[in-house]
């Protein structure tokens, strides 16, 4: 056994250390994603890894898991006896074998397979003659029982809710006997209730000796459920503390290096209607895309918050306002002019800025450059093209300015957009939308996965647009966000909208759950 204290360390090495990252560094071209980061994790501990978007959290975990080969540094993982052993780097199978399981920021499940197959996929030989599915099922059911991570095993994963998919991802890691579980923003897509359940399950598992590192931008859950907090800034570890000694301001200061400004909100009287939906119905493929006879008016100088439990028609509403779907009934007018033919282009032309929910899938073309993604909605603009030819230099310099103004950090505007971190992709989309000074803004889950600073920035921009006279439709599953920003709140449930006429948390919560009229 190791465990002889060797030198002063912030957390003395004991027998219970299960993971030790030492001096990890990683560069991508000119971007220093991680710079000499060291971390330890103890048995049964829950460590929260915090940092702004692009601080290097995902990169660090990817090095631990072997997806990226570090430029420098080492990783030691305790074996079953508790002895720390060097982990071969750049080697996911080795990490798996050593008991490290990772749940990625974006789901990696095969949608057409059921949960059982997804969980066992990869941990059994590809060409096994006979697979012992009964034994696999028993093992999974055992894990479900111990952890409380419930998920239907026989349904294709494509039909599960995001919460269920998240649990399947974790079950997959546990099925491979993970003793160290890494969760990259596990709650970004969960409702607060689902998130709480998830953390309760995680706490139950730590009783069995599981150690957990999770990445999150939600300070509430970090403070409630972690034992220790480590903060990255610009790729370096800038601090570490026990959660019991931390509070929101101290963490925020450590993450950003300064206090985050409070968002100021001017009182404004609502102006004339900007957008009106009259009797809009959408026959969606699922409940989340279905709308039933919806009437909605959004006024100038007004942020309209759409609260609701996920999957109650938010998708349908967003798709109508984005111009992606033709309602089966009803009318949309902008500034009192009905829109005859709904299409994304028509909506862009009518001055509607759209921030899509799924930024990777709908927001950007990942393999095209940041600059190209900045101008993708204004290809008719003479600033972008002349006689059908792109004005590359103008596009580039303009994009550089925008990236500067909206603080899009990454490897530069000529690099592929997919190389940006999740939060920076969102900033790119914000830049694209706000730049055009839209009449109406559809913001669908705009702060999902964003760090506090960036989320506050989104709030500030939305309020700024409101002051300028724009109307804003803010769809969010984060009730706090809606309560903080919205002038008026409607609750969406089962594809219908109900005016809330209050900012009372309790009442709105009940309406979301369908427990009032």
């Amino acid at each position: 056994m190791t465990g002889l204290a060797n030198g002063p360390a912030p957390f003395p090495m004991t027998d219970s250390t299960v993971l030790k990252l030492t001096g990890l560094s990683k560069r991508f071209g000119s971007v220093v994603a991680n710079d000499d980061v060291s971390l330890t994790l103890k048995k049964g501990e829950v460590l929260a890894l915090l940092g702004e978007n692009g601080a290097g959290k995902t990169t660090l975990m990817n090095m631990l898991f072997g997806h990226y080969l570090p430029d420098a540094g080492s990783v030691d993982v305790a074996d079953e006896e508790g002895t720390l052993r060097a982990l071969p780097l750049g080697h996911p199978q080795a990490a798996l074998g050593a008991g490290v399981g990772m749940v990625h920021q974006h789901f990696t499940l095969a949608e057409n397979l059921n949960a059982l197959d997804n969980i066992t996929l990869g941990s059994e030989p590809l060409f096994a003659l006979k697979r012992d599915r009964a034994a696999a099922r028993r093992k999974i059911e055992g894990i479900i029982e111990r952890s409380g991570l419930n998920a239907p095993l026989n349904v294709p994963v494509g039909r599960l809710t995001v919460g269920e998919r998240q649990r399947v991802e974790i079950l997959k890691a546990l099925y491979r006997d993970a003793r160290i579980l890494v969760l990259d923003e596990p709650t970004a897509v969960l409702t607060p209730q689902e998130a709480d359940t998830l953390f309760e399950n995680i706490q139950a598992m730590t009783q069995d000796g599981l150690s957990v590192i999770f990445i999150s931008h939600k300070l509430r859950e970090v403070l409630a459920f972690s034992d220790r907090i480590a903060v990255l800034r610009h790729g370096r570890k800038v601090g570490e503390m026990a959660t019991s000694e931390a509070d929101e301001t101290s963490i925020a200061r450590m993450m950003v290096g300064a206090d985050t400004p409070k968002v100021a909100r001017a009182e404004l009287a609502p102006g004339k209607p900007v957008m009106q939906l009259a009797g809009i119905s959408v026959a969606g493929r699922s409940k989340r895309d279905t709308l039933k006879d919806v009437d909605l008016t959004v006024n100038a100088h007004e942020i309209l918050g759409v609260a609701g439990i996920s999957g109650n028609g938010q998708g349908g509403l967003a798709r109508v306002i984005s111009g992606l779907v033709h309602p089966s009934a009803g009318r949309i007018s902008i500034d009192d002019r009905p829109i005859a033919k709904l299409s994304p282009a028509a909506m862009v032309k009518a001055g509607i800025g759209r921030i899509p929910e799924d930024r990777h899938h709908e927001g950007i073309v990942g393999s095209m450059s940041v600059a190209e993604n900045m101008v993708i909605e204004r290809l008719d603009d003479p600033e972008v093209q002349r006689f059908g030819l792109l004005r590359h230099d103008e596009i580039r310099s303009h994009s550089e300015e925008l990236a500067q103004e909206y603080d899009v950090r990454g490897p530069g505007v000529t690099a592929s957009a997919r190389l940006l971190s999740g939060g920076n992709i969102q900033k790119l989309i914000l830049a694209r939308v706000f730049e055009r000074a839209p009449r109406l803004i559809l913001a669908n889950q705009p702060t999902r996965g964003l760090d506090m600073g960036a989320a506050a920035e989104v709030g500030r921009r939305l309020l700024e647009a409101r002051e300028r006279g724009a109307g804003v439709v803010l769809i969010s599953e984060d009730l706090d966000e809606i309560l903080g920003l919205a002038d008026r709140i409607v609750v969406i449930r089962d594809g219908t909208l109900i005016e809330a006429a209050t900012h009372d948390r309790e009442t709105i919560g009940l309406m979301m759950a369908g427990e009032t009229e």
């Binding site: 060097a86 750049g90 080697h91 199978q93 992606l324 994304p344 950007i364 990942g366 290809l379 972008v384």
Partner: protein, 357 residues
């Protein structure tokens, strides 16, 4: 143990390295059957080389062979960029060829200044229709264009035979299924005296340059790339996906049609049902070898034409079957596909005990 793992980034050098390496590996692998056939591969490849670069005539023959491959290669490359899988260049080629002889073989006996451009435009238009139709079925009914364009090839071929024994048949052909010849003034002028290489080559080179430029620099190319890379984001951004697909379908079909025009009005002079030894399909290989880059298509077409022309002359000189050419071509396609995989993933030989599974 060998493991496969995704790369964070594809090294730049791969774009050129993979096709070049694939070509070399394909030639090396093809040496094995050569040995079995009793030929010395070095001598054989020497003969092949001579068969292409040994004389001006040999070289011009190679260029002649490369010309239709450039057209069909461009047709495939542009469509594939938009993820529109045009497998029907062979059929579109024959549509272009039929249009060329229909117009060029005597119906309109007008000056070449008018007739030649007219033949080119009508041939391209016929090919364009041949791709627009399956694309319409795709955007309207969701019909898989791989299936429809492929099947259309056979339909067009049968239609061609019908035409060659009917309206398009040369009355002087004594019942032979062959069209009347294109009028002299309707022919693409040859580039060199006593050689078969013709100005279709110039047209192909110019179009490749234009395509390269448009893809990178024009709004049209921007939209096409966006639709190909992420159709959901393109649609969300307000790009008219259907129009983009139609646009590239028309151009892709038109280019394939030009391959037919160029063969009929540049080389053969008349149309028979064996005008193309599968130029449409080989164009797909050319496009893949080229990494779907228009300029790459020119290089890849030259390579594949060299293999075919070289193999022909090698087989004459050494008595080895010229099927070797098909072997090299298909191997290089396989190598490119494997290379494309290696560009996205790396293979790691692990020897560390830490790996368990």
């Amino acid at each position: 143990m060998i493991r496969i793992e995704p790369r964070a980034q594809t090294p730049r050098a791969f774009a050129v390295g993979i096709p070049v390496l694939s070509a070399i590996v394909a030639l090396a692998l093809a040496a094995i059957p050569l040995i079995f056939a009793g030929a010395n591969p070095i001598v054989a490849y020497g003969e092949m080389f001579k068969g292409v670069f040994g004389s001006l005539f040999a070289f011009s023959e190679m260029l002649t062979r490369a010309t239709p491959l450039m057209f069909t290669g461009l047709a495939a490359a542009l469509a594939f960029r938009a993820k529109l899988w045009n497998i029907g260049a062979e059929g579109q080629l024959y549509l272009g060829a039929m249009a060329a002889v229909a117009i060029g073989s005597g119906v309109l006996d007008i000056s070449g200044v008018v007739l030649l451009p007219l033949i080119i435009v009508c041939g391209a238009a016929a090919g364009a229709v041949g791709m627009a139709a399956p694309t319409y079925l795709k955007v309207r009914f969701g019909a898989d264009e791989v299936v429809t364009t492929l099947l259309l090839n056979f339909i067009i071929l049968i239609f061609l035979q019908m035409m060659l024994e009917g309206p398009l048949q040369d009355p002087m052909s004594l019942g032979w299924p062959q069209s009347a010849p294109v009028l002299d003034q309707g022919m693409l002028p040859p580039l060199m005296e006593r050689m078969r290489v013709h100005s279709g080559l110039i047209l192909a080179l110019v179009l490749a340059g234009v395509a390269q430029f448009m893809l990178a620099r024009s709004v049209w190319g921007f939209k096409l790339r966006a639709v190909g890379e992420n159709v959901a984001a393109a649609r969300h951004a307000g790009i008219n996906v259907k129009r983009s697909l139609f646009g590239v379908a028309v151009i892709s079909g038109g280019l394939a049609g030009l391959a037919g025009v160029s063969e009929v009005a540049g080389l053969k002079g008349y149309l028979t049902a064996d005008l193309s030894p599968g130029f449409g399909y080989t164009g797909i290989v050319v496009a893949m070898l080229a990494g779907l880059s228009p300029v790459g298509v020119v290089v890849a077409a030259l390579f594949i034409a060299s293999v075919f022309v070289g193999a022909d002359s090698m087989s004459r000189a050494m008595g080895v079957s010229s099927f070797l050419a098909d072997l090299v071509v298909s191997m290089s396609l396989l190598c490119v596909l494997i290379g494309g995989f290696l560009a996205k993933y790396r293979i790691i030989r692990s020897n560390k005990a830490g790996a368990t599974s």
